[in-house]
């Protein structure tokens, strides 16, 4: 059930980045063990929003994130990414859309161990342009310094702490200036201090670069620092609205002071 509030994701006059209407997802379709993981999801996320996606385990958060990230296809309903229907897109088209429009931050950092921190941040550029160009390198250096890791540029992921790895992963997600970054429990594997640092980075990139975020989290503390909360329960959106008491700047201010 929904809160019935007007969706805060509707931007003034632009095409929303994400528009789900009546989206459902069933696994093992047609089999006795068919599972309905998502049903009747209507969701709109506009440019520059910062939303958290919360809910108990098994509520369908990861499945929804995979659908949003074009890593999986809905069983029913329609998903428009920047106004373009994705239902009939080929795998190559969806791959291209991921590269151009989306950024991913995963719980377990997921840097490529074969590449240095800098090269990891350059990878999206390499995928797009087919070579490590000076422009890609400069952009990656700038991002690394933005996450405070200029000195670690040539280190391999294995030589970095978990918090540093996650900051590199955040820089990588931002490399091609995506419209939307999907973060799956980006702080779930970090100690409190590193988690705060990483989350602060997400908020800063949201503010400075205007890129929208959807952050899956278990942590109510972090959810409270987002502008908007989308809560899933049993595969349906139970709540979707601004973070109380005052959305926007108040929520954005909260993160700047270290917890405790």
């Amino acid at each position: 059930m929904k809160t019935g509030q007007a969706s805060p994701g509707q931007p003034a006059g632009g095409v929303p980045i994400v528009a789900l209407s009546g989206v459902g997802k069933r696994f093992n379709e047609g089999l006795p063990n068919e599972a309905r993981v998502l049903r009747g999801i209507d969701l709109t996320v506009g440019a520059g929003e910062f939303a958290s996606l919360i809910g108990p385990s098994g509520s369908g958060k990861s499945t929804l994130l995979n659908l949003l990230g074009l890593l999986d296809r809905p069983s029913e309903g329609e998903y428009r990414l920047k106004g373009v229907p994705t239902g009939t897109a080929s795998d190559d088209e969806r791959t291209r859309a991921r590269l151009d429009t989306l950024g991913f931050v995963f719980q377990f950092h997921h840097l490529l161990p074969e590449f240095s921190a800098l090269e990891n941040v350059m990878l999206p550029g390499l995928m797009r342009d087919g070579a490590f160009t000076p422009a890609i390198r400069a952009n990656a250096r700038e991002l690394l310094s933005a996450v405070g890791l200029s000195d670690a540029a040539d280190k391999r992921p294995g030589e970095l702490s978990g918090g540093m790895q996650q900051r590199v992963a955040i820089a990588r997600a931002l490399a091609l200036a995506p419209d939307l970054v999907l973060a799956d429990e980006p702080t779930g594997n970090l100690d409190t201090h590193s988690a705060d640092e990483a989350f602060a980075l997400l908020r800063r990139f949201n503010r400075e670069r205007g890129c929208a975020f959807i952050v899956v989290t278990h942590d109510p503390r972090l959810a409270a620092r987002c502008d908007r909360v989308i809560e899933l329960r049993d595969g349906m959106i139970e709540r979707d609205g601004p973070v109380a008491p005052t959305p926007g700047t108040a929520g954005a201010d909260a993160w700047t002071k270290p917890a405790k």
Partner: protein
């Protein structure tokens, strides 16, 4: 393709020991293929040359003479009456019954008709490398009380050396067959007790003979061959065999030993004489050699297969190990095609490095083995030489093989579901 090369190279480099092991494995397999290919080629050439002695690649001889009996009833030509039916028909017509016994004709020593014209025609053939006309017939060599029968062969020194490499088989003296000179085989010279500079008497059924000075002693590698031949000048042999101006055969060297039969077939279409290749006249040897080739091919194929399976299984393991990385790459925007090519390129790189290493090891192995394997006379059974076309073909083949081996793992990598792969 730059992305694929960069990622493939990093994946392989990160593989460390695993990558090193499969490359060394591939290199050893390829080294053996290179070695055995080069070795077999050399060995077979060597076997053929030793077995053939002074037999040429292709020989041109006069066609054999056949008896052409004249029979009554046939209109002045050779009768084609078959026994049985026609005999009955003859009997019914009350014609006299003729019993005839046609004896095959003995082959006398004859010259090739218009042999200079034939030589001129041979020179036009692109495959023919050397041409040597010669006169060969039976004779007797005498020194004191000892007589030995042999073939007295008249040659022109230069072209004959080009065809049979007789110059390399000399163990004493020089390859010189001026009037009054003779070259004898080593075993015959020992039997007669002569050396370079001594004189022997040569005679033939058609000539009372004369004395000749031994100018050189050769060793063809087999005792019976060393006792069989005596070489003299062409004009000398023509006189001895009573064939003034004639030659009994023309011997030819072709560019490729194994092409001799094809060249012989080609020549026999334009030359009205008997054209025989060494392949036709040494069937047993040829059968043995082609069995050897077949066995080697099987061994090479097996080695190639083992290398391919090794590469495939290592890459298969790599796909499983890198499932998560592949998932991340896919999520970040790497297409299925690119993931597929990343692994195909890894197969190609393993094949390429394996081949380069393998060619080097194969050459070293050949060097080493050529020092160990010697033939009966102590000379090297084969020589290790740099065979760049072989290396080029091997490298190309190994790269193709690597890509084919990588096909299955690459397909599996490309089909991974990114959402699931990331959770691995």
């Amino acid at each position: 393709m730059r992305f694929e090369w960069i990622v493939a190279w990093r994946f392989l480099r990160e593989g460390g020991l695993q990558t090193a092991l499969i490359i060394v494995g591939a290199a050893l397999g390829i080294a053996f293929i290179v070695f055995i290919t080069g070795f077999l080629g050399d060995l077979q050439r060597d076997i053929v040359q030793r077995t053939l002695g002074v037999q040429p690649h292709v020989t041109i001889k006069p066609l054999e003479e056949v008896a052409r009996p004249l029979r009554p009833g046939s209109a002045g030509g050779p009768a084609a009456t078959s026994p049985g039916g026609s005999l009955q028909a003859d009997a019914q017509a009350a014609a006299p019954v003729v019993l005839s016994d046609v004896q095959p004709r003995g082959q006398r020593l004859r010259s090739i008709d218009q042999w200079q014209a034939t030589v001129a025609r041979l020179r036009e053939n692109a495959d023919v490398r050397a041409i040597s006309p010669l006169v060969s017939g039976p004779g007797l060599v005498t020194r004191g009380a000892s007589n030995k029968s042999l073939s007295i062969i008249g040659i022109v020194a230069q072209p004959y050396a080009a065809v049979t490499r007789l110059d390399r088989k000399l163990v004493a003296g020089t390859l010189q067959v001026d009037p009054g000179d003779v070259l004898l085989g080593r075993d015959l010279a020992e039997d007669l007790g002569v050396g370079v500079g001594d004189t022997v008497r040569l005679s033939t059924p058609t000539s009372a003979g004369d004395t000749y000075r031994v100018r050189g002693i050769f060793d063809l590698g087999a005792k019976n061959l060393n006792q069989l031949y005596a070489f003299v000048g062409l004009a000398t042999a023509q006189a001895l065999h009573a064939l003034p101006g004639g030659v009994t055969s023309i011997e030819i060297t072709v560019d490729d030993l194994w092409n001799a039969q094809r060249v012989a077939d080609e020549l026999s279409r334009t030359i009205p004489h008997l054209v025989e290749s060494w392949i036709r006249t040494n069937q047993q040897l040829m059968v043995a050699l082609s069995n050897q080739t077949l066995m080697t091919r099987m061994i090479r194929f097996t080695f190639g297969l083992v290398v391919a399976i090794g590469v495939a299984s290592v890459l298969m393991v790599a796909v499983v190990q890198k499932t998560r990385e592949i998932g991340i790459l896919r999520a970040m925007g790497t297409s299925r095609g690119r993931v597929l090519r990343v692994f195909l390129v890894q197969g190609a790189i393993i094949g390429l490095i394996g081949a380069l290493l393998g060619c080097a090891i194969g050459y070293a192995l050949a060097q080493f083995m050529s020092g160990i394997l010697t033939s009966a006379d102590g000379s090297r059974l084969f020589s290790a030489h740099l065979d760049f076309p072989l290396y080029a073909y091997t490298t190309l083949g190994a790269v193709v093989l690597g890509v084919i081996s990588a096909a299955l793992p690459a397909r599996r990598a490309a089909r991974l579901d990114p959402a699931q792969a990331i959770r691995m």
